[in-house]
Amino acid sequence: MTTTVAERGRNRPDLGKLLSDNGALGGLVVLVVALSIMAPTFLTPQNLLNVGVQAAVVAVLAFGQTFVIVSGGIDLSVGSVAALSGMVAAWSFTEAGLPGWLALVAGLVTGLAAGLVNGVMVSYGRLPAFIATLAMLSVARGLTLVVSDGTPKSTPEEITALGSTIGDYLPVPLLVMLLVFGLTGIILTRTYAGRTMYAIGGNADAARLSGINVRRSTLVVYGLAGVFAAVAGLLLAGRLASAGPQAAVGYELDAIAAVVIGGASLSGGVGRATGTFVGALVLAVLRNGLNQLQVTPFWQQVVIGVVIALAVLFDTLRRRTK
């Protein structure tokens, strides 16, 4: 966050400083400038709002993932949990006959529950995060198929509203993304839960010997990731006005990529909300831009892979020369 820059006593709003502190931001600027030149339709208000909407789901997943990665773990299940949450919400409305708002709550609770199960497996069961959440990836996807019986289900108005546009130009997904961004920043920089994530990710032993309850904090971390996944799942269902059994497949990898592009360290202890936000935007801008340039989806995958590798490579080099 920019506040931490100010707090460091570098009070001048120095653009160079800002760019060198956020390696990915420079990349994003370059990307936007290049696409503006190459694709005349890119730099239009309508398209930029589109980019925001397209970024929203992955960004929200990535914010949840940021907590996990900062605390030294990884959550592979967020895509499946998003799908399950969306599906449970839709099922609660269409099959169980719950009112729309309650269906929405049911979706959020589903995400929280899945996250807490992850947390219990990691903290009390001492499973490696990779394995525990890989298991949850499979279980949550399977449950989504079970609940849906393999067919998409329509969503109540309350959820569809999440995918709508206010007054023709302000997309709700964009608003939700910004809200979750702010929330993530506040949690990471201001709250006890957030500050302990850095300590645990940096050195769990030292955190424990300083009186931090590492197990409880781990539960909070995965619980938050689960809730954020649910929000992402509801956003996605809302945009499509239906929850699909194959929704958000592979999104966990985009989320992880966004966090890492944003400068977080997979070994824990390092990462920021702004970084993740920029990382998610880089991916969305790239996808949108490649579409504008009419690059085929096949080649798009190649380009995105290369960009992810380059982004992290540059970030590593930048840190090394520092």
Partner: protein, 532 residues
């Protein structure tokens, strides 16, 4: 006068604003041991890295064998005959000694590795450093000292004329150190030039031909062989240290920590002791005697089977670190980097780690108040830092240790357990840490000082508890505690066997880093700066 192997002039190196080396001159002749001496953070490591080609200096000349060179990379330095033995060894544990000796340069015949030649040459190379092991044994099976010898043998075979040894003795026992010093003097006779870094002044007195002293990145003097310990210390810290162990004893008050009958099967048995307000209780014993295990159990990190812990009148729940902390006990663990610090975080964050919970209202940390407090603490401890936002990993060992202690001072604990608080800490910072101990006891707190450094534990404690094989072997008053008396107790436990009676983790650690028998292990640190 023998040939000059290496000379650097006016070396300057700057890291993000901080001057690490300033206009340093240094030279090395064939057949000499040239010691680099200085406190942590004085610039020794930076100079070594410049010599190794790992850092390129911002200014200055490097002359090797009479020709000015640029050392752009470690490979280039190696080609010019400069070999560096770092503290962290670079051997592959699962490969054999012979394979390690030829790592990256296996002799080949018809495209296949020439095993016969490797075996033959390997024995010759090992002979040169006096290491008698089968070249076929995996490196994992060797002790630390033997592994070091393998590295040295490898370096010498690449025709190294300059051998830089960066604190090789820090991890060695006394006998191992003796052996290394012997090898070094043999190499010296063969005309190799050795740059030797060590904190142990006694070793310097035994082997150095010349001593270059660094302070704050500058070369502050070159001392001749036979320089006195006082001379070395005063040059190094820039002032004379009046007293190495400035203990100010207090009249003991009420009992602040009482441990009775503490037992964990296989680790420690029936351990009882008390510490009173204003008192420093020293805990001595061999490595593996159960000192650290007891400290961790008392603090609630590890379990214990039976016994009782009372902190300042209250009985915290067993195995609950938070309850023990709230009762007023703090622990500075022996492994500073592994357990004491969050290296990815800043100085301020680390200082505020223990008190963060108390500074939280409604889930939000009052960071402003925290920063005011941590900043004041950093000032009070005189932590040398660019500011409290500097990453703690960038500080020197002594300053890092101050941060670990500082986080407990902020929590205002009644009893502070210090486990090896001065390990790897330079002379100046040591005295500052001792002063902190004095301040704590002056203020009516109690300190438990666990240390392998016998002069330290004797010099700074009001009473010394000696542990042996997981039991309390005895307690000595300050005036009875001589090194002989402490050691006699430390090996007193009947049936003391190094491998019996310890936890599985211990046995595992033992297997991973094989160590010599306990008799050699004893008093490993007693020579360290004893005379100062």
């Amino acid at each position: 006068m023998s040939t000059e192997l290496l000379r650097v002039e006016g070396i300057t190196k700057r890291f993000t604003g901080a001057l690490a080396l300033s206009d340093v001159d240094f030279d090395l002749r064939a057949g000499e041991v040239h010691v680099l001496l200085g406190e942590n953070g004085a610039g020794k490591s930076t100079l070594v890295k410049v010599l190794a080609g790992a850092h390129s200096p911002d200014a200055g000349r490097i002359v090797v064998g009479g020709e000015e060179v640029r050392l752009g990379s470690p490979q280039q330095a190696a080609k010019l005959g400069i070999a560096v033995i770092h503290q962290e060894l670079t051997l592959v544990p699962d490969l054999s000694v012979a394979e390690n000796l030829f790592l990256g340069r296996m002799p080949r015949r018809f495209g296949f590795v020439d095993r016969a030649q490797i075996r033959r040459r390997a024995s010759d190379m090992l002979d040169r450093v006096g290491l008698r092991v089968d070249p076929g044994t995996p490196v994992r099976g060797l002790g630390i000292a033997q592994q070091q010898m393998v590295e040295i043998a490898r370096a010498l075979d690449t025709d190294a004329k300059v051998l830089v040894l960066d604190e090789p003795t820090a991890v060695l026992t006394e006998t191992e150190t003796d052996r290394l010093l012997e090898i070094m003097s043999e190499l010296r006779e063969q005309g190799v030039g050795l740059v030797f870094i060590t904190h142990r002044l006694e070793e310097i007195r035994r082997i150095a031909d010349r001593i270059t002293v660094l302070r704050d990145g500058e070369s502050v003097g070159v001392l001749p062989a036979g320089a006195s310990v006082d001379e070395m210390v005063s040059t190094m810290v820039g002032r004379t240290i009046s007293e190495q162990y400035p203990r100010r004893a207090q009249e003991p008050g009420e009992v602040l920590l009482s441990v009775s009958g503490l037992t964990r099967s296989g680790a420690f048995t029936d351990v009882s002791f008390e510490v009173r307000a204003g008192e420093v209780l020293g805990v001595a014993g061999l490595v593996g005697s159960g000192r650290t295990e007891v400290a961790r159990a008392v603090f609630g990190v590890d379990r214990y089977d039976s016994g009782e812990v009372v902190v300042a009148g209250s009985r915290p729940r067993r195995g609950d670190v938070n309850a023990v902390m709230r009762a007023g006990l703090g622990l500075v663990p022996e492994d500073r980097k592994g357990q004491g610090l969050v290296l990815t975080s800043s100085v301020g964050e680390n200082l505020g780690l223990v008190t963060m919970r108390a500074a939280t209202r409604g889930g939000f940390v009052d960071r402003k108040a925290q920063r005011v407090r941590t900043s004041a603490m950093a000032g009070r401890l005189r932590v040398k830092t660019a500011g409290q936002d500097q990453l703690v990993r960038e500080l020197s060992g002594g300053n890092q240790q101050k941060v670990v202690i500082g986080k407990w001072l902020l929590a205002d604990v009644r009893v502070l357990v210090l486990d090896e608080p001065t390990r790897g800490v330079d002379v100046g910072a040591k005295v500052e840490i001792y002063e902190l101990v004095n301040e704590l006891t002056d203020a009516g707190h109690a300190v438990v000082l666990i240390s392998s450094d016998l002069p330290e534990v004797i010099g700074m404690s009001d009473r010394v508890l000696v542990m042996s094989a997981g039991r309390v072997a005895g307690e000595l008053a300050a005036d009875e505690a001589t090194q002989d008396a402490v050691m006699a107790l430390a090996v007193s436990e009947a049936g003391w066997s190094y491998r019996d009676g310890f936890s599985d983790e211990w046995r595992e650690a033992e297997r991973d880093t094989p160590r010599p028998a306990p008799s050699e292990e004893t008093i490993r640190d007693t020579t360290r700066e004893q005379a100062t």
